[in-house]
Amino acid sequence: MSLLKVESLSKEFGGVHAIEDLTFSVEAGHIHSIIGPNGAGKTTLFNLITGVYTPSSGRVLFQDRLVSGMKPYELAALGMSRTFQNLQIFFNMKAIENVMVGSHLHLDRRFLPSLLRLPKVTRLDRECRASCAGLMEFVGLAKYLDADAASMPYGALKRLEIARALAAKPRLLLLDEPAAGLNATESREIDEVIKRVAATGVTVVLVEHDMKMVMGISDHITALDYGRKLAEGTPAQVRANPEVVSAYLGAHA
């Protein structure tokens, strides 16, 4: 079953086609990677899927429901969550509070009970804190449980975003370059985290430049260039595709 379908999607920025007539689908339970050279339109595609941008034309279907044009917070309620290439951490909060914001949709967030600190709110908050601590351990941030987000190193913040996205209990998780700026060891650790996330049944869409990671963990790959689909298939198929080799890996081949 396809969890996510992108149909003839296009996005123009003042005459420049960032994404042009793109069609592909993501199977439930897969780790699906989007690859392509810088400027191929990967992040634009993420922004279109998650509602940060509105498409110029085309459709996005999530769980067979038309979602293009919906707001990011509406999509989150439907079970879609994401991380960002350039971090979008709440630096004014504790690390664990960042993750707790992730479970926003699963808490009692009515105004008056919050204002009066009703027992139900505090009980759910306590449970939320415990489960968010669990998520932080899950992504390998156990030692930052009491830390301020602002005091954490870059690599840890990358994982904090993953934990926050997981706290929303998504069915589809989009990761925008989770290994960018990390060293080889940290990359491998992120790799493990992604595999563990996928093993819990969450479908993962991954944008990543680290080819070793992409080829190692993907079930399916879509290659983009200049906003168009260049190739798709299993890692072996994409790696063997001559167009991908010349457009993307050309310099290294």
Partner: protein, 315 residues
């Protein structure tokens, strides 16, 4: 644990200070200043939810304060409503107004939002000055005592205890809110709007919510202020009053409830201390604002807490 002790400890300390302060009061004038300090503190604790926690600026909150004051004056004097009903009705109308104007203007950010809220304050000020048939114009309006079920609040002492109870209540409510799903969503809006959106926080609604809440706080205090003073003029809606409120929040500490409270108290007491150089009050206020931004941009209380932590943590 830490948060919990800071909460209850802070609240208890506040209650003790309010209860003990009158020991040093040698005449009723002290009570009068105390009431004003606590009224300002209540407005600032509300305004700090908007400015400090949600990261949105408002240079128009004196307008909401004035609408609460005038609402009470008009409804009690002209229409004969009981003061409590007048205060609550005014607060509801101000909340509605804040909702209606907040929806479009909170889409703005930074300087643009500052200008738009400044505009609201100016409009309210002008309306109060020019609609003299309803508001008395520049001459102002007078109104009677505040009473609930036949029990009147009269005199500076009684107002002191009323304001004290309300301040403790306000701080309790604000602390509750900040440490709740709603409060975390507000702080997340400050941290990263898009980051909050993608996990399901409807950021525009939360911005409007906190704008309305802070406006209602200002309106209620405006009503009480009007009854306590017995007389109001459109000056309370003035730009200078809005800036004064923001300065109190910034000086005391953005995103710190007790900080905002301390800022309000300091800036209310300052003119009393500086009575000899009264004509330089605005200049001193400006200098304080500049000095705060340069030397402790996080505000008085957070800066002190941070340096105490540094000293304690240093080996």
């Amino acid at each position: 644990m830490n948060i919990k002790t800071a909460r209850t400890g802070g609240l208890a300390l506040l209650a003790i200070i309010i209860a003990m302060a009158p020991i040093g009061f040698t005449n009723t004038y002290f009570y009068d200043v105390g009431v004003n300090a606590m009224f300002n503190a209540i407005v600032c604790v509300g305004l700090n939810l908007l400015i400090g926690y949600a990261g949105q600026i408002s240079l128009g909150h004196a307008g909401f304060f004035a609408l609460g004051a005038y609402g009470s004056a008009i409804l009690t004097s002209t229409y004969g409503l009981p003061p409590l009903a007048a205060m609550l009705l005014s607060a509801a109308v101000v909340g509605l107004l804040a909702f209606v104007v907040g929806r479009p203007i909170l889409k703005l950010k930074g300087h643009y939002l500052a200008m738009a809220t400044l505009g609201i304050g100016i409009i309210i000020n002008i309306v109060l000055k020019t609609e003299s048939k309803i508001t008395g114009g520049p001459d102002g309006m007078s109104l009677g005592n505040f009473s609930v079920l036949g029990f009147s609040i009269v005199g500076d002492r009684m107002w002191y205890w009323t304001a004290g109870v309300l301040l403790v209540l306000t701080v309790w409510l604000a602390l509750n809110l900040i440490d709740s799903p709603v409060g975390r969503a507000l702080r997340a809006v400050h941290g990263s709007e898009v980051g909050a959106e993608v996990v399901g926080v409807d950021t525009s609604s939360y911005k409007v919510l906190v704008f309305v809440v802070s406006a209602v706080f200002a309106s209620i205090v405006g009503s009480l202020f009007a009854h306590k003073n017995g007389f109001i003029t459109p000056d309370i809606a003035g730009f200078f009053h809005s800036v004064e409120l923001v300065t109190m929040v910034v000086l005391g500490g953005m995103a710190s409830t007790f900080g905002a409270l301390i800022g309000a108290v300091i800036l209310t007491l300052l003119p009393q201390v500086l009575a000899a150089v009264e004509q330089y009050e605005a200049m001193i206020l400006g200098a304080i604002m500049m000095g705060t931004m340069i030397f402790m941009p996080k505000g008085l209380l957070p800066s002190i807490v941070a340096s105490v932590k540094r000293l304690g943590g240093g080996r």
